[in-house]
Symmetry: C2
Subunit: 215 residues, 2 copies
């Protein structure tokens, strides 16, 4: 294991150093946010100066973009081999993710902080977050349509997209509540409950009785 405090005998390779910086930046931006987290914070964690960080990434914005790309790459590698699940398996996967996330506070915080910050005016991560939502909505809507087809339930695409937005929304919203008050919210359980509820509503079809009469 690399020791960050004592000087190492051999200088790490360029790729290694970049990864170290990316990991540190993920932690810093994740815990303090992009704006409040400084290059000095990141550099300290790697044991170099902030100028060293800039040597590798050019600017703070570029570092953020690299962090986001890095996350994408790591996420994809993690799913490598195991094809992206579709149909009902996708929802099982989402529930599992929530369960796993309950033990990965740092990652959840990073995601929530960056997502929340991205809605500020002119934030450099806005495009990335927007794209991520678009892709996710598409995948979930597709899985929903697939499940509906398998069960012979009529499902309009617009309705599938509504449900997809809701699934993503409830996952993100619960994460924020859980981060602020872990004792008050059981991330895994509440997420599973909500996804289940939305799924049931979609599969019940549009003719299902409304609980709240149209006002």
């Amino acid at each position: 294991m690399a020791d960050g405090s004592t000087p190492r005998r051999t200088r790490p390779s360029k790729a290694e150093r970049r990864e170290e910086i990316l990991a540190a930046a993920t932690r810093v931006f994740g815990s303090k946010g992009y704006h409040a987290g400084s290059l000095v914070d990141v550099a300290e964690q790697v044991g170099i100066t902030h100028a060293g960080v800039l040597h590798h990434f050019g600017s703070k914005d570029k570092l953020l973009w690299a962090v986001l790309e890095y996350r994408d790459r790591v996420d994809v590698e993690h799913l490598e081999g195991q094809h992206i699940p579709g149909g009902l398996d996708l929802f099982r996967h989402l529930m599992t993710t929530a369960r796993i996330n309950a033990d990965r506070r740092g990652i959840v915080q990073a995601y929530s902080v960056l997502t929340g910050e991205s809605v500020t005016d002119g934030h450099p991560a806005a495009a990335w977050v927007t794209e991520r939502f678009t892709v996710l909505r598409g995948e979930i809507a597709t899985a929903l349509l697939q499940v509906a087809l398998e069960r012979g339930v009529a499902l309009e695409e617009a309705r599938a997209r509504s449900a997809a937005s809701a699934v993503i929304g409830v996952m993100d919203g619960l994460q924020v509540q859980w981060l602020l008050d872990p004792d008050a919210v059981d991330l895994a359980q509440e997420t599973a409950f909500a996804i289940e509820a939305i799924l049931a509503a979609v599969l019940a079809g549009p003719a299902a009785p409304r609980v709240v009469p149209a006002g």
Copy 2:
């Protein structure tokens, strides 16, 4: 309407000025976030210097706290007379709020930005946001229990609290998606759909068939 650019004939009273500053601070913190929004930004909108703002509020933290209190006060005044709805009416109210919010981007952004930022380490608004969630969860859970009672459906308190968390989560999560991509998400419709789904799931009882078999 007060004119911020040209000097006014009479100096506003202390209370008036404080309200002006609070309104300006709400806009600034709402659009840029607390950390990125500066006292100079706030002061400019009122037509004074940042030291003038500090004269009234002492520090930036105290200004934020005053903004949060201010929001609470305004929200309560807005509901004055009209008792806080309970039972099914609460959910109708939530859906109506979402519909109204679709035309109040600024307010939604302010709420989302502050909530998202609050999960960063040591954020001064964390306690306020946490408290807000706790109160909301309680109110929604109570309303759910009331509806269940009226309909003769068995509902455990824990399950009601799960559903309450989910309702809040989905509302917040959808707001973020809508802010980033208003064309992709119909805030009012998706919110109504999700609340309806969660409500239906709760009222169907725990014995209702699961869509996703326990894994």
